[in-house]
């Protein structure tokens, strides 16, 4: 018996964020104005991306433990879906930056860090595409995925905090503190993170099942 409740939960949470993200109260801040609501959609996408990359990492570690091709497939689809969310996060962030910081791309450690991170994950797919032998490919990819995850934490989580950044929670500031995210916003922000994560997992789930069907088909032909 397959369960679908978590898909519905993801949909409900994102819908909740869409409705109350626009209608709920937000702090009145200069420059940001109403764009503060972008936080419900832009930042939550990045949170979901990091969660999916963590899932991908755990599948890669799992692959190295038992060499199951299914684990390798899950690790790949986790990274693919994570990259998809990261692309959306980058595009929305760029638009937001244009109207609050003045340019589509500013020389900010967080922005450059995410660019480097995305290139590192692109290299993961290049690596996968360039090895013929499936077992060798899976093994190399799993090891590289661990490296990529560590680099992501360094470039998104650590380096921007060591220097000054336009992003809140960086440059020595604590993370989401009282003035960044008040209790009204938290009530929408955290469900939105869970919602986008579940939607991401759903997309990942569909792609995994699709590839499994292709595997079965190929077995049938052989």
């Amino acid at each position: 018996m397959k369960t679908h409740w978590w898909k519905a939960l993801g949909v409900v949470f994102v819908l909740y964020a869409i409705v109350f993200g626009f209608l709920g109260p937000v702090p009145r801040l200069p420059i940001l104005n109403e764009t503060i609501r972008v936080l419900y959609f832009h930042v939550t996408l990045w949170f979901a991306m990091i969660i999916l990359m963590t899932a991908s990492l755990s599948y890669s570690i799992g692959y190295l433990r038992n060499n199951s091709p299914l684990r390798d497939l899950k690790a790949r689809e986790g990274a693919v879906t994570g990259m998809f969310l990261a692309t959306l996060g980058l595009l929305t962030g760029s638009l937001w930056a244009r109207f609050t910081w003045g340019a589509f791309w500013v020389n900010d450690p967080k922005l450059n860090g995410t660019a480097v991170t995305m290139l590192i994950y692109l290299a993961y797919f290049v690596l996968r595409g360039s090895v013929e032998d499936p077992q060798k490919k899976a093994r190399l990819a799993a090891v590289y995925n661990i490296f990529a995850f560590v680099m992501m934490i360094v470039f998104i989580g650590i380096l921007p905090r060591l220097t000054d950044s336009l992003h809140p929670g960086n440059g020595g500031n604590p993370g989401f503190s009282g003035y960044d995210l008040n209790s009204d916003m938290r009530m929408i922000f955290y469900p939105a993170v869970i919602g986008w994560t579940l939607i991401g997992v759903w997309i990942m789930n569909i792609k995994i099942r699709y590839t499994k069907l292709i595997w079965k088909q190929n077995e049938h032909l052989d």
């Binding site: 397959k2 898909k7 949909v11 994102v14 819908l15 869409i18 409705v19 626009f22 209608l23 009145r28 801040l29 200069p30 104005n33 109403e34 759903w202 997309i203 569909i206 099942r209 699709y210 069907l213 079965k216």
Partner: protein, 74 residues
């Protein structure tokens, strides 16, 4: 001397109050979409986004169902 410090303290208090009042006033001057919300048009935007999102979800569900059928056939 004592009176002088008292006056100084009271002056400082007045200055602080004025500054905080000024800040508050500034806070209220921040432009928000109040007019848009007051005549109700923001609901249109919310409805449009909700329709788009629900449409994508319905599409996801249909893909999910097709996969389910294929999985059962095998």
């Amino acid at each position: 001397m004592n009176i002088l410090t008292k006056i100084k303290n009271q002056f400082l208090l007045l200055v602080t109050l004025l500054i905080s009042y000024g800040l508050q006033a500034q806070g209220n001057d921040v432009e928000m979409a109040d007019i848009m919300r007051s005549n109700g048009k923001i609901y249109v935007v919310v409805a449009v986004l909700a329709i788009v999102f629900i449409g994508i979800v319905i599409y996801l569900i249909s893909i999910d169902r097709k996969l389910n059928k294929l999985e059962k056939n095998q």
